[in-house]
């Protein structure tokens, strides 16, 4: 069965509605499983909220869980928020452990608590335990579905037991079998391939990898990335503070979390805060979230523009300057944004540390001087050509050149400084940068112009 994209024959809401009306859980599941995950995402977006609920309620809870796992978390949370608590609890019972934790963490805490209190006791208490860990730590990323055996068994005994239990585990979950002591301390790891290749009578103690690599529950995402980059393992066992084996972080889940981190950096840098925004969310919520960012920005902008207000006489004398102020502001913002992006990227890759301000600055300054001179010449020539006044060109050219140097310096260093202060560089760098470069840019243009006023008018 080769997967084919069939552009012309995209499934429609009508088709889904038809299937829904047969009221057959099986037919509905079959229809949904025939869709790709983006088709599902799209068809659910188009569906009114009450129809979305009907879909989840018609499906067996296991199949509903499958549906929820295959769409984005932002969308899943949106749909689940509308479910009856008891239906939501049933669905959560069926979710894979890390998906369960991710979604509960994204729900309104009160709502999550209500769902937890109606879930199976054991599922709920496991979930509560995982919810204690930050989402992007080993504890938050791990799955707790794992197979562990005492070291006294033979390959044959393990294989015999595996036969009865393995159906509960997806391919994605079973890669390793763990060997643990009676107090649940991790003693070793058996790879599935070793179970295949060794004689049945071998004691597992002889073929396990002893003293295996493990991480603690509070290992950060960046540390996990480091660990997976350095080896080829599919997963790493996780132990809690008392060294008990509690879960496994899988490579694919770590990679997925890295992708989420990048997406979130991009969204935050673009001024989308508080998680993803989907256009199916209520207008007021979308508007409020966006305004929280915009209202900070407008105040910063007013602050920066007050520099212009202080130099109104200069502006009045050389009105042409007003044409160039927005250009100076925007171009410095662009140069600074490039430096910010490179710093954030280098921090992520580990090629720069938060205390290497001097190295970063010297590297940025070189680029800043070259780009400043080039951009300064362009703007200078434009101004000269337009007004026929070479001094106007020189004032603007020098101002943009100097401000470009300032912009790349600020842009390069800000993420390091913010990170050091434990602030989120992706979020705060942009607005701080533009405020500073606007103020400096306006100040330089207008002060220079004032000094050479007689040559400009």
């Amino acid at each position: 069965m080769e997967i084919q994209q069939d552009e012309e024959n995209t499934p429609s809401v009508e088709q889904l509605t038809e299937v829904l009306e047969t009221n057959s859980a099986e037919r509905l599941d079959e229809f949904l499983r025939s869709l790709s995950s983006s088709e599902k995402a799209h068809i659910l977006t188009e569906l009114p909220a009450e129809r979305q609920l009907e879909v989840l309620n018609t499906l067996e809870s296991e199949d509903a869980a499958h549906l929820v796992e295959s769409i984005s978390e932002a969308q899943a949370v949106e749909i689940i928020s509308n479910l009856e608590i008891s239906d939501a609890a049933e669905l959560f019972n069926e979710l894979e452990s890390n998906e369960q934790t991710d979604l509960l963490a994204r729900l309104d805490p009160e709502h999550a608590e209500e769902i937890l209190s109606e879930m199976d006791f054991e599922e709920a208490s496991d979930a509560r335990e995982r919810l204690e860990y930050p989402a992007h730590s080993a504890g938050g990323l791990m799955i707790t579905e794992l197979l562990s055996y005492p070291e006294t068994l033979t390959v044959e005994e393990v294989v015999r037991d595996l036969r009865t239990r393995i159906d509960d585990f997806s391919d994605h979950a079973v890669q390793y079998v763990f060997i643990a002591s009676h107090n649940e301390h991790l003693l070793g790891v058996l790879r599935l391939r070793d179970l295949v290749l060794k004689p049945l009578a071998t004691p597992v103690r002889n073929i396990m990898i002893s003293d295996p690599l493990s991480v603690s529950v509070d290992t950060t995402l960046s540390e996990l990335e480091d660990i997976f980059d350095g080896n080829k393992f599919l997963g790493v066992p996780v132990v809690d503070q008392s060294q008990r084996l509690v879960g496994v972080v899988r490579r694919a889940d770590m990679e997925e979390a890295l992708g989420e981190r990048s997406d979130s950096a991009y969204l935050k840098a673009s001024g989308i805060l508080g998680g993803e925004e989907l256009r199916s969310m209520p207008v007021l919520q979308r508007s409020r979230r966006r305004l929280s960012w915009l209202s900070v920005n407008i105040l910063l902008n007013v602050m920066a523009a007050s520099v212009i207000a202080l130099h109104q006489e200069t502006l009045e004398a050389v009105i042409a300057l007003a044409v160039f102020l927005p250009i100076i502001s925007d171009m410095s913002g662009c140069s600074g944004a490039q430096a910010i992006a490179v710093s954030i990227r280098e921090l992520t890759l580990g090629t720069v540390r938060v205390d290497e301000l001097l190295r970063v600055w010297s590297k940025e300054a070189m680029v800043g001087v070259i780009n400043g001179v080039v951009l300064g010449c362009i703007i200078g020539l434009v101004a000269w050509a337009w007004k026929g006044n070479i001094y106007l060109g020189m004032v603007l050219g020098v101002a943009l050149a100097v401000n470009t140097l300032i912009a790349v310096s600020v842009g390069g260093l800000l993420p390091l400084i913010l990170k050091r202060l434990d602030r989120d560089p992706a979020l705060a760098s942009g607005p701080i940068l533009t405020t500073m470069t606007d103020m400096c840019g306006f100040f330089i243009v207008l002060t220079l112009a004032n000094s050479f006023l007689s040559l400009l008018v």
Copy 2:
């Protein structure tokens, strides 16, 4: 062995240099393996180019390959560019197939060709074949190290052969064993767990998953994401145009590619083109790449500012307007950037299609009206309070409100239109948006001001 971060005891360049001077490949490898991948990244960045070469040349090529695989591709390419062709070829022989292809694709094509011509004949011809596929397609992402057997074998025969071959395969590579016909057509998939659990005499034909899911070499990353989201497989087999089994795309590699796509969207939206920039790259190269973006932007900015130039008399009459023009420009840019980010994200998630312009516009327009009114009131009140002229406040408030609506409309629709035209929305949306919103913003402010000129002066 639990991984511990030891902040105070970070390995230094001096330590590495000391180890290097012993000239022992083994000790050097041991030292490097004791570092996390970000420590490696950082220590290599600090090392002068000739020392970096010394490291690679001292290591056995297998260990050098391990080092290269554990750092970022951008940094790896930078280091490899300085290697002798023959040393580079030896290193490439040892790389995992998908890493080989990724790095060759990022090198200068002539340089890549030279390396290929010195590599082992078989490795090189496989690599050439893979290089034909786009990097983010199934063909570009797959590994070609796979285990395949004819369907006539029994479990025992497969296990016996596995025993001799499996050492060449890392954990990360072996998850499935494939069953193929004599002309290499994919017939079935055997999961490692089935080999563990079934009696040895069973013919593999009876336990394989027949007619398994497969993808063609030109399946796109988004299609792969769809496929993996919909199931729990660790990997999906890849077949070429003539239906021959040629490789496997692993879930973790797909997730990694998604992360790269997000990173690249963030970098492009920030004006970093032509791949990642590392500060260790030559200044002129960094400067040239950044300027390619800035020089387009400055021309667009001049174009937008020409709208101001056309209304100089109005500006001369009400000089206070000059203070607000950069604010109007920046705030509209911010509102538009939010809408762009949401559209790009929704396109990625599949919750919106490129032809749903009307739906996106209506959703954006609602937010635009609310945010426009709020921002307009703020700026209007600031202007009124400052100049004591309510009409000035009204002109600016109305202008910002209308321009916010324009900005979110343009920002929401641009990514859809660009994607439809097969352009990269992350790259082009920003500059097009700010040019349009600047022109509209300046035009609205100055035309409105001109109409009510007698009330403003």
